[in-house]
């Protein structure tokens, strides 16, 4: 490898198994998050994403305590929570405040207990950081087939319902008048959102998952007025941020404090935020003139 490339990609980057896993899982999660995230932003359901993430944290912690893969904990709790949210009609703005205040706080509290018990039983502390803040390098490569399958499922669902979903998001009344079952479409979308949240939680942690879901989508919506393009741009931004984040995290092993790499999640979230700020820049400059 030439010298400049070697300084960008740390020694052994391309040969490393965990790096391959991280790149695959990160890209998959970014594509699903970008696609689902665009609808989360236009439906005003970022809050639902955050709620599912926090509940996912409890699920991930329970999985750790039970000794099952974190993916299954995230998935089961997010999908279960999505079903409950649909049943109690949490979409209504009035219900949101209560849900955010009570249910989400409680979920993190439960996560705290489960993680404490887990770390005591297993006498490791790494899991707390992995569940809450994620670590792409720690993903078990054996779960890749499941991750890809669930991603494909979520993407297929979104593609299937995208037209009724768009009209329901624009105006539930217009959609209902056209005979669209607004509630069924909304519930279907919530399921796809739960899968996206679980994958994002696995990649960058339950607490930071919403950043991957909402950040690239919000950026894309500033750049284009067409839903198809917004999805493509959001997926591209998410993928660029995760991959670049992985490269930087790998390099950071040689940064201070030497011998301890910085968390991938930090780089991913920082890059997503930077992309958003850059996309907002033109509008901010215009306002100041």
């Amino acid at each position: 490898m030439s010298v400049p490339l070697a300084t960008v990609f740390g020694h052994g980057f391309f040969e490393s198994g965990p790096v391959h896993t991280a790149l695959t899982v990160g890209a998959t999660a970014a594509i699903v998050s970008g696609t689902v995230g665009v609808f989360a932003v236009i439906r005003g359901q970022s809050f639902a994403g955050e709620a599912l993430s926090d509940i996912g944290a409890a699920g991930g912690s329970a999985a750790f305590l039970a000794g099952v893969g974190a993916l299954w904990g995230f998935l089961a709790s997010a999908v279960g929570a999505a079903a409950v949210m649909e049943l109690i009609g949490i979409q209504r703005p009035r219900g949101r405040d209560l849900a955010t205040g009570i249910v989400l706080g409680a979920s993190l509290g439960i996560a705290a207990l489960l993680l404490y018990l887990g770390t005591t039983v297993r006498s490791t502390t790494g899991a707390t950081v992995t569940i809450l803040f994620g670590s792409l390098f720690a993903v078990d490569p054996g779960t890749i087939p499941a991750i890809v399958a669930f991603s494909a499922l979520a993407l297929a669902v979104i593609m299937l319902v995208q037209r009724p979903l768009l009209l329901s998001s624009l105006s539930p009344e217009l959609a209902a008048a056209r005979g669209i079952r607004v509630r069924v479409i909304g519930a279907t979308y919530l399921l796809a959102l739960a899968v996206a949240v679980a994958l994002a939680a696995l990649s960058i942690g339950a607490i930071l998952g919403t950043a991957l879901l909402i950040g690239p989508a919000a950026t894309a919506l500033r750049l284009t007025s067409r839903p198809g393009r917004a999805i493509a741009i959001a997926a591209a931004i998410g993928m660029a941020a995760t991959w670049l984040g992985i490269v930087l995290a790998y390099d950071s092993f040689y940064w201070p404090p030497r011998g301890h790499g910085w968390p991938v999640s930090f780089f991913v979230v920082a890059l997503v935020l930077m992309a958003y700020l850059v996309a907002r820049l033109p509008a901010m400059v215009r306002r100041n003139h």
């Binding site: 037209r163 768009l166 105006s171 009344e173 959609a175 209902a176 008048a177 839903p227």
Partner: protein, 278 residues
């Protein structure tokens, strides 16, 4: 009277003895009227008179507690392609990544699953519809950035592109400035005549519609009176509808429906304070 009787244009909407109960309260009772193709009908009543409820019942979104609604002679059904609808106005979200032409396109096939295939024919149909509502100028703008009147045109095009026979509009003039309001009314009157569509438009103020209404359905207290404006907008007819004395005043070509103006009580004393009802 519900079927086409062979005289004049076809009856597109017939509402007979319709009652709607919501939350244990009779919002509408014994509402009867009919609209023919090409007719422009105003649905007039103050806030809470049941205008939106009536429109939603016609759309099949509220089940009637009694009576019958027929669209072009057939019982109404969910997703009736014969009906176009423009809901009560609200500003579309500026974050919505849709151009005016995308919203019109959703009027063609939003109920379908899967991804829409762009085609020459589809684009031509959308362009023609945008032209029919004078919206070519902002066809490629983001809907959330359009003015109220422009959004209204886009939503009318969205409702009309599936070629309905009946167009329902819920308070399309609310929140529009006077000039945009006039333009929308003129546009709707033109569409009714040119495309042989029955237009039913709700409003709490009848004056902007006086020049173009072929027929009026006046709602008060959950009941309705219908006919030409000359038949309905009369003191005796509206007094019977309201259940107390009201006067119809004509001032400078404008109509005001007023309660309590000229001693309506049994002993000549006013039972109600002076109030402009419509």
């Amino acid at each position: 009277m519900s079927a086409y009787d062979g005289t004049g244009p076809e009856e597109i909407l017939s509402v007979e003895h319709l009652g709607v109960r919501l939350g244990g309260r009779d919002v509408l009772s014994d509402v009867t009227f009919a609209i023919r193709a090409g007719e422009f009908t105003g649905l007039i009543g103050s806030n809470g008179a049941g205008k939106t409820t009536l429109l939603k019942a016609i759309l099949g979104l509220h089940a009637p507690s009694g009576g019958d609604i027929r669209i072009a002679g057939r019982p109404r059904s969910r997703r009736n392609p014969l009906i176009g609808y423009v809901p009560q106005r609200y500003l579309l979200d500026a974050d919505m990544p849709l151009r005016a032409r995308d919203v019109v396109g959703l009027g063609l096939d939003a109920h379908r699953l899967g991804i829409s295939r762009p085609s020459r024919e589809r684009t031509d149909r959308i362009d023609a519809m945008l032209a029919a509502v004078d919206a070519q100028g902002f066809a490629d703008s983001r809907v959330g950035n359009l003015s109220g009147g422009e959004q209204q045109r886009v939503l009318i095009a969205h409702a009309l592109i599936s070629r309905p026979r009946l167009l329902l509009l819920d308070e399309p003039l609310a929140n529009l400035d006077l000039r945009s309001g006039h333009e929308i009314v003129a546009l709707l009157a033109r569409i009714a005549t040119e495309q042989e569509i029955a237009v039913l438009i709700s409003a709490h103020e009848m004056n902007p519609l006086l020049g173009v209404m072929d027929r009026i359905v006046y709602l008060a207290g959950g009941r309705a009176a219908s006919g030409t404006t000359a038949e309905v907008v009369r003191g005796d007819v509206l007094s019977r509808l309201y259940g107390y004395h009201v006067d119809v005043l004509r001032v400078h070509g404008r109509v005001l429906v007023v309660s309590g103006a000229a001693g309506g009580g049994p002993d000549g004393q006013s039972e109600h304070p002076v109030e402009v009802l419509a």
